[in-house]
Symmetry: C2
Subunit: 225 residues, 2 copies
Amino acid sequence: MTPSKQPEIPADGDSPNVARADLSTPAVGRLSLYYRELHRLLDAGQMSTNSRDLAAMVNVSAAVVRRDLSSIGSVGRRGVGYDVASLAHHIGVVLGSGVNWKAVMIGVGYLGNALLRYRGFERLGFSLAAAFDTDPSKINRVVGNTRILAMDQLDPVLRELKPELAILAVPSEEAMDVASRVVALGIQGILNFAPTTLRVSSSVAVINVDLASELQQLAFRIQNG
Amino acid sequence: MTPSKQPEIPADGDSPNVARADLSTPAVGRLSLYYRELHRLLDAGQMSTNSRDLAAMVNVSAAVVRRDLSSIGSVGRRGVGYDVASLAHHIGVVLGSGVNWKAVMIGVGYLGNALLRYRGFERLGFSLAAAFDTDPSKINRVVGNTRILAMDQLDPVLRELKPELAILAVPSEEAMDVASRVVALGIQGILNFAPTTLRVSSSVAVINVDLASELQQLAFRIQNG
């Protein structure tokens, strides 16, 4: 898929009619990076930016930045560029940030622990509503801002909280069972850190983060650089 | 880039002449997943497999599996399929596993701590030779199998160990400085967990893992599912 061409739309308007499902996965990834950098500029008090500076911040060409932004209906003004706050807001709307997604964490080993303490999720509008672990010594502890509950509370708690997302940081051999349970409880998207492929209904979105595989791809690039 | 077509080559042979740099990034990612699943089969004592079963394990079509494997010179035999051990070995050679890459970890906060304890890296032939942190209370502690050293030992230790890879789990605002230092000390590839874009020489391979961005992409997929 390629981003669809959009007619010229004022830079600052939200344009809810933009065909967002048309965005390719790499384009969504880049929008997420622009969003991150725009928020860094906002924090630093910078009011406007341009495609060349944004391009430098995320290591792509200015033409790619302009194409990505125009595909969601944001067109910079010549000599002025983009208003940082409006553009950040607009990309946030497209990406679904600010919707205040609810996520639950399953598995609070060392990685789950690090993820619960990571503030980047909240900054993007995600709330970590609850965490679950099988280890009795962890139950009721609060990590980050999230309380750890026993796995046998999974069903009632998910029925009550109705989270959309689950983050799986469980051992590989448990991941498939856990995934089936949370999907049956209405979870629509899974961020999976277990190094195994989850087979779930195609209506459930799954993103896998396999840390060893990332390192292997890095080694491949070096070997073939 | 698309994988190059290869002439028919015996399934079990290593074929060092295969143009490996031709592999697309997604193809390398899939090879890494086949490799992971083949090792799981090996551990379970399974001797042979076929493209259909491999496809089910990693959620792609059997045709994609056959194309990926034939692009690295591995062709399954009709009615027999692939020998698990040979295929795993062959993919390992292509991906550079078993080369025994040396990596260092920079930053041992909660995430760095989880990564040092993660055994998946060693299983793929990576050794975590040393870790570095600025916190004096952490110095000389051993996490996983890796000793934490002071940041001011970075230069002499990297000159001696000559690692190829650095894993960065430092705060965003320190990431660029740290990246410049390790590149100057000969690091060829960086796995970057800091949510910021690193600007380094194009001869250095960088793979970014931005956890919040992954969750944002998941939310986008659900919203536009």
